[in-house]
């Protein structure tokens, strides 16, 4: 039996813990480290119970033994503010960094659209855009692979309970990073992102609307087929990724209405926005692991 690639999760909060539960089931990844900054954090305690090594001294607490422990992939589930520093430290030690923050210092990765390319590029830092980006960019790409998209706009509506303090403190990062992801990965000439936070109880499921304005009149049949195919690709790692309505065609507007239900590993099912991030990050890591295990990629310090 082939081995697994050892991984570290930085940030034992909701996202990090959900990622841990998913990674623990992976056939390619073995989580061995959980890195935090608060000694009595419940996330660190849970990771310890699951047999991981833990530290409350941040990345510095793991660095001395990172190589010895065989860590080749790290996930950063902290914040954009500290990501650059975390990334520098672990990539210097030869581990690939998968960035779940909106820092976006590495190339964007949206698995069903450009995962293969991202891995082939052997970048030591790869960024997962934003939750809204993961949920919507596949649909922009589904339209743009059929025909030119002049403008794509997404509206992500998330429940108040699933919008963490990081997102709230820097909501502009969300709109900017998502808009660039729509352009760079979704391949729309111009991108725009809107996020709405709704406090209704019970919390609403993540909803996403994708509007594309095509250059030429939309090829309805081809777009319908492409959208269905892309949804099936996303469903491989987020089974609750569902087309609610559309594609609606009106002149050159193509509108797609999605709902994203999470797996409910650690985060509640309505928080599909967070689930799609952790699932996409894990999928990215698994692809890297496959490359590493087959000898096609040897991560090393630049």
């Amino acid at each position: 039996m082939r081995g697994k690639i050892k991984a570290a999760i930085i940030g034992p909060g909701n996202i990090g813990t959900d990622l841990l539960l998913k990674a623990a089931r992976s056939e390619w990844i073995e989580p061995v480290w959980m890195v935090g900054v608060v000694a009595d954090s419940p996330g660190l305690a849970r990771a310890q119970e699951m047999g991981l090594k833990t530290t409350a001294d941040g990345v510095d607490g793991m660095l001395p033994t990172l190589k010895e422990d065989g860590v080749q992939i790290c996930f950063d589930a902290t914040s954009a503010y500290v990501h650059a520093e975390n990334s520098r430290k672990v990539t210097e030690q030869g581990a690939v960094m998968i960035d779940l923050t909106p820092a976006a210092i590495g190339p964007f990765c949206v698995p069903p659209v450009n995962l293969a390319e991202s891995v082939a590029a052997k970048s030591m830092n790869v960024n997962m855009v934003t939750c809204g980006g993961q949920a919507t960019i596949p649909m922009v790409a589904a339209v743009s692979r059929v025909q030119a998209v002049n403008y794509a706009e997404i509206v992500a509506t998330v429940s108040s309970k699933s919008a963490g303090p990081g997102t709230r403190k820097n909501i502009d990062e969300f709109t900017r990073t998502t808009a660039s992801g729509i352009e760079q990965v979704g391949n729309a000439a111009q991108g725009k992102a809107i996020i709405i936070i709704n406090p209704a109880e019970p919390p609403l499921m993540m909803r996403d609307t994708i509007h594309c304005l095509t250059e030429d009149p939309p090829d309805e049949a081809a777009i319908r087929e492409s959208v269905q195919r892309m949804i099936a690709d996303v469903q491989q790692y987020v089974p609750g990724y569902t087309l609610k309505n559309g594609p609606v065609f009106e002149d050159r507007r193509v509108s797609i209405y999605m709902e994203v239900e999470g797996l409910g590993d650690f985060l509640p099912k309505y928080a599909g926005n967070l689930d799609i991030m952790t699932a996409a990050a894990l999928r990215t890591a698994e692809m890297y692991a496959e490359q590493i295990l087959s000898g096609k990629f040897i991560p090393s310090a630049a």
């Binding site: 403008y151 706009e153 509206v155 509506t157 108040s160 919008a163 303090p165 709230r168 403190k169 820097n170 909501i171 502009d172 969300f174 709109t175 900017r176 725009k192 809107i194 996020i195 709405i196 936070i197 709704n198 406090p199 209704a200 609403l204 909803r207 609307t209 509007h211 304005l213 609610k244 309505n245 559309g246 609606v248 507007r253 509108s255 209405y257």
Partner: protein, 343 residues
């Protein structure tokens, strides 16, 4: 009610909230004509932006006739005394838009969030409050959805981020005067005395004037409205009417009543695409507690999918939708049409 001797600041919404009723198609020339007339009438403040604030230009809310930058730079330059504000909804607009608006010459920025989500405004309010001379306002929308105590917590957050004025906003035109009194009085008692307090009403239940008076009595000193009521839903508090009532009650606004009436009648009403009034759908907004700018979207979806716009609005209220969820309307209409077997 005795409010005589009070001095209040009026803020006209024709060129921002009115954009909703005009599908964001007001021209720069129309804006200049209205704004100059308001300046001449002594209107202390006017708001100029896409209906959904800076960066609102979108498929979701509608593309405007001109950009925010074009509107703001034209109007700001033309004003002698009237101060121009812009609206910004975090999640739609960013600090980049805010900087652009400041460069255009705005005197006031109003940062708006849903009433429970004030913490998303921290970066915008903090940045604005550090710009010398920029009036920085926190604006809590759909304020009918939570209690006075809950609202106070959120207003305090905005005050702590650096807002020198905070607003209680009845985006759905749902509140009755007692609702306003309770919320404004509590906020006035608990916020710093130097923090200004405002009320923004919608006229969907014909409570614009009554609610604004209740707000003034309870301690608000800034009141939003629009001449001829040009605004989302059944419009904002009709400002020329409010000015007349203020004069009768001895409240000082500094605006020339007859000039205000003339602007309403001669300039604003002729601009309207439809008569902004309490029609069946606008009344439904107020009754069901729905964000006022949903009005025209619901009418359009109702027409397209052969549904009742009132049914759509009632359902949007039941689902507790918030401002900005315009995308929900077509989605919901498709669901309703499918349920009826006509999609």
């Amino acid at each position: 009610m005795d409010i005589s001797g009070r001095k209040i600041t009026l803020h006209d919404m024709c060129l921002r909230d009115g954009m909703h009723a005009k599908r964001h198609q007001i021209s720069v020339d129309e804006m200049l004509t209205v704004a100059r007339a308001m300046d001449d009438a002594g209107m202390p403040m006017i708001e100029v932006t896409h209906g959904d604030g800076l960066g609102g230009a979108s498929v979701n809310y509608g593309f405007p006739a001109n950009s925010d930058e074009e509107y703001l730079s034209a109007v700001c330059k033309a004003m002698k005394n009237t101060r121009v504000s812009a609206l910004l909804l975090p999640g739609i607009g960013t600090v980049d838009h805010l900087k652009m608006a400041v460069d255009c010459g705005i005197a006031s920025i109003r940062v708006a969030t849903h009433c429970t989500e004030a913490d998303v405004s921290e970066q915008h309010i903090t940045m604005a409050s550090r710009i010398t001379g920029l009036d920085t306002v926190g604006f809590l929308m759909m304020a009918h959805m939570i209690s006075g105590e809950e609202l106070l917590e959120q207003l305090k957050l905005m005050e702590a981020y650096g807002a020198n004025c905070v607003y209680i906003t009845d985006s759905a035109g749902y509140m009755l005067p007692d609702d306003v009194t309770e919320r404004v009085a509590l906020a006035r008692a608990e916020l710093h005395p130097e923090t200004e307090l405002g009320f923004h009403g919608h006229h969907n239940m014909a409570m614009g004037i009554a609610n604004s008076l209740a707000a003034v009595e309870a301690g608000a000193n800034r009141i939003d409205g629009s001449l001829a009521g040009l605004g989302a839903g059944a419009g904002n508090t009709p400002l020329e009417v409010f000015i007349a009532v203020c004069e009768r009650m001895g409240v000082e606004t500094g605006v020339d009543l007859f000039k205000a009436m003339d602007i309403a009648e001669d300039l604003v009403v002729p601009m309207m695409d439809h008569l902004v009034r309490i029609d069946r759908d606008a009344l439904t907004l107020g009754f069901a507690g729905v964000y006022s700018s949903f009005l025209l979207f619901a009418k359009r979806s109702a027409e397209k999918y052969n549904l009742s716009s009132r049914d759509i609005l009632v359902e949007l209220g039941r689902r507790r939708t918030v401002g900005g969820q315009e995308d929900m309307i077509e989605d919901l209409a498709l669901d309703m049409a499918r349920a009826r077997g006509t999609a």
